[in-house]
Amino acid sequence: MYYNANGERIARWRWRELLQARRNRLDLIKAGFTRRDLVNMGLLTAGGMLIAKRGLSSRAYASWGSGTDCHYDNSGCGNCASPSITPFLMNMPIPPVKQPIALSSLTGPAPTIAPNNAINPATGKAYEGRTRAHQSPIGTDSRLPFPATKIYQVTQQAAGVTVSGDLPTQQLWTFDGVSPGPTYVAQYGTPILIRNYNNLPSNNGGFGLNSVTTHLHNGHTPSESDGFPCDYFSAGQYYDQYYPNQLAGFLSTHQSTNGDVNEALSSLWYHDHREGFTAQNVYKGLVGHYLLFNAFDTGNETTGFRLPSFPDYDIPMMFADRCFDAQTGALAFDTFNIDGILGDKFMVNGVIQPVLHVHPRRYRFRWTNTGPSRFLQLYLTDLTSPSTPQPFWQISNDGNLLPHPVQVPAVALGVAERADVIIDFAQYAGKTIYIENRLNQPNGQGGPTGGVVAGGQGFLCLKIIVDLSTVSDNSAVPSASTSYYTLPSVSASPRVTRNFKLDQDRNGQWIINDKLFSCNTSRFAVQQNSLEKWVIDNGRDWSHPMHVHLEEHQVTQGAPGLYGSDSDDHNDYQRWGSQYCWSGCTSNSSTGVNLARKDTVRLTPRSTVTIKMRFRDWLGRYPMHCHNVIHEDHAMMLRFDVATTGDTKSNP
């Protein structure tokens, strides 16, 4: 029989661990670390108890640690304890803008409409990993020239990347040697073709699969170029992806106007979507930005909507949390944790807690939560007065512009959700402002939350120093009366209402309407161009950012708002799942930033949302899935097809 310090009976191996923990503590103290060092390194609790080592698996040991219940507390139940680093020493990287090349400069054979299945003698494999032809009318419609108006070539490859001066160089998987990868700057009306080479090594360093499929998240993309999870291709192959950059409806509901400008997109991102390995590959670095401009959102603050000019005052930012091995300092992935992974280091554009110097003027920041599992609620914080609210303007909720800017105290982002914001740093001239995540998330499942902590008590992600020179600012002053786009109507009667119940079976397998995922099984067929109404019901006390490919939807009921205050009752799913409004709205219908076109909708515990959309212009297979990439991989996903004739399955 073995007993812990509280006299509780414990397993022998657990006792050995405790014994070893004590030895570790003595060793660490002998090595010269002070108690404060240990607390700061996350190795010692405030009570002086050395936290017993648990490997990296939070699922494995969730109920252990400091005698607390992991559902409701934060102590001793997290995923990792990365080495301590000194924050705010490195500048925030801004990924380079990807440059097009001449068609003749492509490596390998010229692009073809049909997949190039000829065997590459150098690899013994087909040149191209694509299995389906670029669909009609690509190559026949004058708006869809083939190969494309602009040609790019990108290479997925391993590269040494610095994420902090205090950590060794990380061997990440990158696009063109950087992570996040290069930023694509695209224009509506200018189709592009990206030849995507997979040069990833078979040596994965412990996680990652060198078989990939790159999804353009939020893209109105033909199925064969979408990065469908099962359209993966091998190392040594390329995959030509054709991005039309056309407004939704251009071949269907809005042919006469060449698409519906109210469906315009602005802030997209690309990431690996490999079935079963998305989490590993994204965690390893395979992400990047894709910006889309048009005659209104021009990238020039003297034209169109007069949004701050790209690239000087329009800056994309990817937020990610990560774990690093305490011994080797290497990026650590928790392979067998299938509930969700939380990191304790916060990266922005690939660097842990970086610094950004700005001019005292308006900026457009494009925020993306790249996960893998953490929900964010981002605030601006002035540490000299941390409890003072610092409102700013949110202009998008996912990849497009809202009908008008909404002044907000914070932005909540599930994995894959995005928000463009406008912050006027003139009011902070000479000051330092932090972007702070104040959402207290105790586990990777994403719920219940531990509430929202007070200003200055959360995770400081980015330090913004307003110390550059005063410069002119020609961007428009955002206000509630500024108009961007009008929300397309979804008030027509839907052709079909489909219900989706998200759950786990008795044995921990994700099910949607009691069915499991398979790449080969299409669960229902959407009839192209018709209005669909989907009711998604989250049957458990977990959270899921649900993502639908191809088209944006509007959340007509059950959209979540900001998470509550730290007095929030985290047992109260009903309240947690209900709408938090910035200014006193009470109904469950969408208001404020939820009057938006979305591609990812956050389902809070035991909540139900209703979304409506039309799938237009392109045919073929697409998925709906949870974008907690750990849930996605195992396999909270279904495949549907867009077809000329759809079915009316109501519980597919």
């Binding site: 661990e17 070893q20 923990a21 570790n24 607390v39 390194m41 190795l43 050395l50 936290i51 490997g55 990296l56 494995a60 109920s63 640690g65 507390d73 934060n74 001793g76 139940c77 997290g78 990792c80 304890a81 080495p83 301590s84 924050p87 705010f88 205090d166 950590l167 060794p168 994965n204 360093g205 412990g206 996680f207 699969l209 060198n210 079935e275 079963g276 390995f277 011994q327 080797t328 650590a332 392979t335 067998f336 299938i338 939380l342 304790d344 540490l383 105790p442 531990g450 008590q457 995770f459 079976d505 044995n507 921990g508 397998q509 995922f517 398979s518 080969n520 073929g620 297979r621 396999a635």
Partner: protein
């Protein structure tokens, strides 16, 4: 193999070197100096242990070399004898299970058939009981017989309860909800599969269609799949 006693001791010693678990939010609140001027970095970077190979990283984190017993009564080491240098599929079961286990077992039989047809490699299947207190080797042997499993590369495993429980936790098969975790009829129905030398490890649903499970498991066997995995158009 070397002296296993020494190996085992070494294993626990290495386990102790694994990063310590900590509440993430707790470390955020207690672990960061708020607003303090950034301290100058120490002269030179702090030193870290040399990087580990992928397979070594995975082994240290997840594969304690505990002793298990097969349905034939043979004593085997989890890492050295079952995992090392192999392509494997792992699942949980118990002998008197009439819930998910028969489905998974039947699926794995079909998966075995598909993979023998399509893959040149040996693939080992390990079904580990979640009730080691009850499941003797004989009970597991009976389960295998009843389910028509007679396959030298498919082992049914039991062991000391603490060892089995350690493995169950290390492999992420435990449920974080203690009530669910105590209910053995609700043990994880997921499969772990992997290719130990290449450090490719994945998870899939044991109740899925066997054809799809086989395709997923083949992910861990790059290039040796005779057919390109198919997706219906």
């Amino acid at each position: 193999m070397n002296d296993r006693t020494i190996n085992r001791r070494g294993m626990f010693g290495r386990l102790a070197a694994v990063p310590l678990a900590v509440g993430v939010a707790a470390s955020a609140q207690g672990g960061q100096k708020r607003g303090a001027p950034a301290a100058a970095p120490p002269a030179g970077k702090r030193t870290f242990a040399p990087p580990l190979s992928g397979r070594e990283t995975v082994r240290r984190r997840y594969f304690p070399d505990v002793e298990l017993v097969t349905s034939e009564g043979d004593k085997v080491r989890f890492y050295d004898d079952l995992i090392k240098d192999k392509i494997v599929i792992l699942n949980l079961m118990y002998a008197k299970c009439d819930g998910v286990c028969p489905i998974t077992t039947s699926n794995l039989k079909a998966v075995r058939k598909i993979l023998s047809r399509d893959v040149d490699h040996d693939i080992f299947i390990y079904s580990m009981t979640v009730k080691p207190e009850q499941d003797s080797p004989a009970a597991l042997k009976d389960y295998a017989r009843v389910h028509g499993v007679s396959d030298p590369r498919w082992l049914f495993l039991t062991g000391k309860p603490a060892d089995v429980d350690l493995l169950r936790h290390k492999l992420g098969f435990a449920d974080r909800d203690p009530v669910v975790d105590r209910d053995k009829t609700r043990h994880s129905g997921m499969l772990r599969y992997g290719n130990e030398p290449t450090a490719i490890w994945g998870t899939c649903q044991g109740s899925a269609e066997p054809e799809w499970i086989a395709e997923e498991i083949a992910f861990a066997i790059p290039r040796q799949f005779k057919r390109h995995p198919r997706v219906n158009d």
